[in-house]
Each structure stands twice: as C-alpha cells, then as structure tokens.
C-alpha cells in the first residue's frame, strides 16, 4: 500500500520527524480556511504516484481566493489513473538546502538499502545515473538497525558532516518505519534544511508491504479507503483478489502469477487484448472463482472470458464447481473458455462437461479460441 503524502507525513510525525504545518482539504472552502490558518501555501494533489507536479497537481496560493481556486482545479483531477480525492495545503518553507534521504529494498542484495545524498529535490534514479558518487549507501543489519557510528560515517561520506548530529538522529527515527510499519520504501525527498537550521521533511513517500497488512490493520483502516484507484481494482481488493486492470476486452483468470502472465501474453499473441490480470492463486475455492468472474463482468468492455488453470495445490474439481456456479449465479452469457489440467482434473472436466462447458485443450489453443469467439461475438 502506497500512502498519500499527508498520510506518510502523519506517520513520520508519529516517529518524531519534523514536518511542515499542513491541513487536509476535501473541498475549496476547506482550502480557503487552510490559507486563513497557515498563510501562503502549496496546494498539493494527494495521489499515490509520482510526477503530480508536472501533471498540474501542485499549485502555490498566496491568497484565500487562489487557495480556493487551486483546490477547485485539483480535486477530482485524474493523475495517472488516480482520481484526486483531496488536497494537502502546506505552509511554504524557507529553504536553505535540500537533501535526499531514503530507505528501500535492494532486490539484488536481498536487503534494505539506506541512501543519503546532498543532491536533494531531484529523482534519486537521476542522481544515481548522473553522479553515482554523490550517493552514500548503507545496508543496515535488519535485526538491530543502523548503529550511530555507521550513520555518522554515512553522513560524512555524503558530504553532510556539518549536519551529522541532527541527521543521525533523524535517520534512526525514519528507520523505525521498517520494523514498526513494514515499510518497503521510506523516502524523504527533499529533506529540507531551513535558513534557521531546522531539518524538516519537505515531501514523504511510504510504501507498506501488502503481505504485512495483517499486522498494520490500523493503517489500513485509517488510510486504505481514501486511495481511489481503478474501480475494478478497488472492488477486487475488497473481495481479496489479486487483480490488475488492463485496457483490452478479454477477461483473464489464471491460477498462479506466472501462468496468468503467460496467458495474457498468449492472448495478445493470438491477436486479442487482455482486459485484466487476475490470479486466483493456489487452493482456489469455488467462491474465489465466482468473485473473480463477478469483478471481470463488472467491466462493460469485456466481451469474453478465458480461464486457465493448471493444478498443483489447486484442485480441479473445486475450480470446475466454482466456474459452473459462478456462471449460473451471475447469469453469464458471454463466451467462456476454460482450460484446466492438474490435480483432480478428470473430476473437474466431468463437472464442466455435465454443465455444458467444454474444456480447452492447451493454453495456446484456448487463447486462440477465446479471441475467435469474442471477434465473432458468438455466445
């Protein structure tokens, strides 16, 4: 789960990190009230993706009327597929310098990496490409966290020795986002040093591991509902499905991420365009299949559905029962191709046949079949 900026800042504040004064506004009147309280503010779109500045999602307001107008323009905007639910009005900072500070998972090293750079305010990927030596790196021990002397070394390596005391203390606070909140990314960019010498989080990015949400129910309850993404993805999440929206017209259900991705590739190769990725996972139950079909059929663009199941931990008879029940319950009339093999496949095939659904032969054959059926518009 990627938190919105104001949510990430609330979490940082709870860890003892200084953030600028700010107010959440859900409508233009609230933005005007925020100006009255804070004076000149940046009105910032709250979406869990980068590049909102370029998309026109950040506006400076130096009057109440400007704050109101900015909120009017930004709330409801679509930024990279996310509808802006609210804005964050934040007091402008008196910036002396900008620093980059961030933790993220280094997949190759199978470890968390801490990066610090005096070149703040720009994308760290860009810094890494243009001047890699400007980034100081540390792989903190995941059991005990970074030690003071390690951080002191890091700060001096980054050429920020004059700030070693406040930075060492701040980095230790930010590190808590990993053990306390299962953060995969915890980034402050820019970390602002004001002309008065305060060190304040100018922006904040926090991504919480979806696999660990069971131990952060509080965060999910407090923030989860506010992130308005694709409506089908939102519905799929409510139903506990692994689902990604794509822009085609053939619905896809598969078990296992690799097979499901492979099925998308096959459909595209056969000349079709997948409407989604939907992995019903190992041990898929009848109700899971029905949930998956229900979400896919919500999309009016969908002209047909391909189900591709190869069984390991998944039982063919359960899948078949689920498909039949789901089709009947949902009164589905669109073309449906089911390709199934694996554990208890004979029972599964029997159930499908008894209910008038012909199982497909191979993934490739099934992909060609559904593309053909959806083109012809045959039911």
């Amino acid at each position: 789960m990627k938190l919105l900026e104001y949510q990430a800042k609330e979490v940082l504040a709870s860890l003892g990190i200084a953030i600028p004064p700010g107010v959440v506004a859900r409508n233009p009147a609230e933005a005007a009230a925020a100006f009255a309280r804070l004076g000149p503010v940046a009105v910032k779109a709250q979406v869990p993706v980068g590049g909102r500045g370029k998309a026109g999602g950040i506006k400076l307001a130096s009057s109440e009327a400007e704050a109101r107008r900015a909120a009017e323009q930004i709330i409801g905007m679509d930024i990279k597929g996310f509808k802006v639910p609210l804005v964050y009005c934040e007091a402008a900072l008196d910036i002396a310098r900008e620093i980059y500070l961030g933790f993220t998972v280094d997949r190759d090293a199978r470890a968390n990496i801490l990066m610090l750079s005096a070149k703040g305010g720009m994308e760290i990927e860009q810094v890494a490409e243009e001047s890699p030596a400007a980034i100081a790196r540390l792989y903190p021990n995941p059991w005990r966290g970074p030690l003071d002397f390690e951080l002191t070394q890091l700060v001096f390596d980054a050429g920020l020795g004059d700030l070693s005391r406040p930075l060492v203390s701040l980095i230790k606070k930010l590190y808590r986002a990993i053990p306390d909140y299962d953060a995969l990314t915890a980034e402050i960019n820019p970390l602002v040093v004001t002309k008065r010498g305060e060190v304040i989080a100018g922006d904040a990015k926090l991504e919480i591991d979806d696999n660990a949400m069971w131990r952060h129910k509080d965060l999910e309850e407090k923030y989860g509902a506010l992130i308005e993404g694709d409506p089908y993805e939102v519905e799929a999440k409510k139903r506990g499905l692994t689902y990604v929206s794509l822009d085609g017209d053939i619905g896809i259900i598969g078990n296992g991420a690799g097979l499901c991705m492979g099925t998308l590739d096959l459909v595209q190769r056969a000349g079709g365009r997948p409407a989604n990725f939907c992995d019903i996972g190992g041990g898929a139950k009848a109700e899971v299949v029905e949930n998956a079909l229900a979400v896919i059929l919500m999309n009016p663009k969908v002209k047909g559905v391909l189900i591709n199941v190869f069984g390991g931990i998944t039982r063919g008879d359960e899948v078949a029962k689920g498909v039949v029940t789901a089709r009947d319950n949902l009164k589905m009339t669109l073309p449906l191709v089911v390709r199934m093999s694996g554990t208890r496949e004979e029972e599964g095939r029997e159930i499908l046949k008894r209910n008038g659904i012909e199982p497909g032969v191979s993934g490739w054959e099934a992909a060609k079949k559904i593309v053909e059926l959806t083109r012809a518009g045959v039911t």
Partner: protein, 286 residues
C-alpha cells in the same frame, strides 16, 4: 543424477497436521519420498500419516536425522519456521508458504548467513522434484518423468505446464526447482544454474523467468561464460505494464528495470535460445 535432492534425502514436514501440509505429505510419500517425520507444536509424540510428529524441528532432527524440510505453515509463522529448520541443522529448507512479509525474509536472509550449510528454496514456491526419486513441495509428480533436462523457474503453474509438455515429448527431467515469486528469495536462478552445470546427469536446461528484478540477467551472465548445457529460456509478462505488481510480489517492472525484453536480450546475448511461448520450448530443446 540430480541436484539438491534424491531418494536418500530424509524429509521433515513442518506443518504436517495442517490441511495443505497433510495433503502434500501424502503426495510426497506416494512417489517414494523418504518423509521421516513432521512438526506441529503441541502434537509431539503422536503419529500422522504414518510418521512421528514432533513439537519442534530440533526434536525431529535429533530423533530422525532429517536433513531436509518442507514448510507448509501459514505466512505469519513461516519466517520463524525457516530459521528454526536452519538452527536445527537442516541443510535443504523448502518453504512453500505464500505471502511472507518482505522484511521477515530480509531478516531470515541475514540469519541464514550464520548457517552457511543451509540452502533455502523459496518462499512462495512450488518446491522441487527429482522425478522417480523424491519431491519436497507441491509439484504434481505425474506430469514429470526422469531424464536429463534441468528446469528452474520463478513460477509454479507455468512450471507444471512446461514439465508436462517435456514429459509428453519424452524429455525427462533431472530435477525441477521452483525458486519462487517473491522479491527476496533463498536460492537464485544463478545459484540453481550453477548446480545444474555441475551435475553430470543434466544435459539440457530450461529457465522460466518473469518480469521484475535482475536475477535472470545474473543467470545469463553466468551462462555467457560458456556451459556444456543446451539451454532455452522463457520469460512471462511481456504484456505487463510498468509499476504494477503482477500477482507475485516480485513481478513488477520499476521504471525501465525488470522488463521481459531486458531479460530476453540478456539470454540471447549469452547464447541461450529464447522461446516465444511455453509450447515452443520442447521443439527448441531438440
């Protein structure tokens, strides 16, 4: 010949009394895998599926001499189960469990540095099988057959698809290793390729990769140095958009990193044939 496991491997099942643990223990036993015991805290001293159950892995290893373990416990307890197995002296740990928090796995990886003899496969993987001899995990044995093709994959079901096609074409497998779909894993593609290269019983290699990370590229670097194995690679996720997690926690393209194209190019550069679909793999191996 084979890598990692054979008919002499003595297997412990952690979580043997659970639904999945029990179901797959029976499957493992039915192909002749030497399952010597299971664990389930509080059920020590009982017998399940014909083998003794112990409260802890250490008790089980002391009593049975188990040297490998299959883990079927739920995600909140799986990281601890991996470390418990390593501390008990198990040398091959296979974790099937899906959904283990990434930070838990990062801590596990650090912990395992203290147990260099312990090899971890997974988590979030189908496990491994040496056809005709033994398996740990959930790969259905009836789609496999003994032979000389080494198969290594990040996917579960896609692996079955390929194994099934290989077997149907008379191309048996030395060992099939599902390394798993998480971003922080035990054995990597490169680790497993190294094992296959050293195994005289393996003459061909099939690699099933997917988008995300750069493990396939690292394996390609190794193969680029030249190897006696005839290799074919397949990458799933060509149609996946940037920035979206495609089911597996590890299957995500970040910026321009981790794309199917980058992986396919790395393999081609290394002299490894790249299959367009899984159906093409058999023909390309011949």
């Amino acid at each position: 010949m084979s890598v990692l496991l054979d008919s002499s491997t003595m297997v412990l099942v952690q979580g043997i009394t659970g639904r999945e643990g029990g179901f797959h223990t029976e499957q493992m036993q039915s192909m002749g895998t030497k399952v010597v015991g299971g664990t389930s805290p509080g059920k020590g001293g009982t017998t399940h599926l014909g083998v003794p159950v112990f409260d802890t892995a250490a008790d089980a290893v002391r009593a049975t001499g188990a040297n490998a373990s299959g883990i079927f416990v739920p995600a909140p307890f799986a990281a601890d189960a991996i470390m418990e197995a390593a501390a008990a002296g198990i040398t091959l740990i296979v974790c099937i469990t899906e959904g283990i928090p990434i930070q838990d796995m990062i801590r596990v990886k650090e912990f395992l540095r203290g147990y260099p003899q312990a090899r971890l496969v997974g988590a979030n993987c189908p496990g491994l099988i040496t056809p005709g001899q033994a398996k740990i995990g959930i790969i259905p044995q009836r789609i496999t057959s003994p032979g000389a093709v080494g198969l290594v994959s990040r996917s579960g079901t896609l692996t079955y698809e390929v194994a099934s096609a290989l077997s149907a074409a008379g191309l048996g497998q030395s060992t099939i290793v599902g390394i798993g779909g998480d971003p922080v894993l035990g054995l990597t593609f490169r680790d497993v390729v190294e094992l296959f290269v050293q195994d005289p019983g393996t003459t061909n290699l099939v690699l099933i990769g997917e988008i995300g990370g750069s493990d396939e590229e690292h394996a390609a670097e190794l193969l680029a140095r030249g190897s006696r194995l005839k290799a074919v690679a397949f990458i799933s996720g060509r149609t996946a958009p940037e920035g979206k997690r495609m089911g597996h926690a590890g299957a995500i393209i970040s910026g321009n990193r981790g794309t199917a194209k980058s992986k396919e190019e790395a393999f081609r550069k290394a002299g490894v044939a790249v299959a367009e679909t899984t159906d093409d793999i058999v023909g390309m191996l011949r």
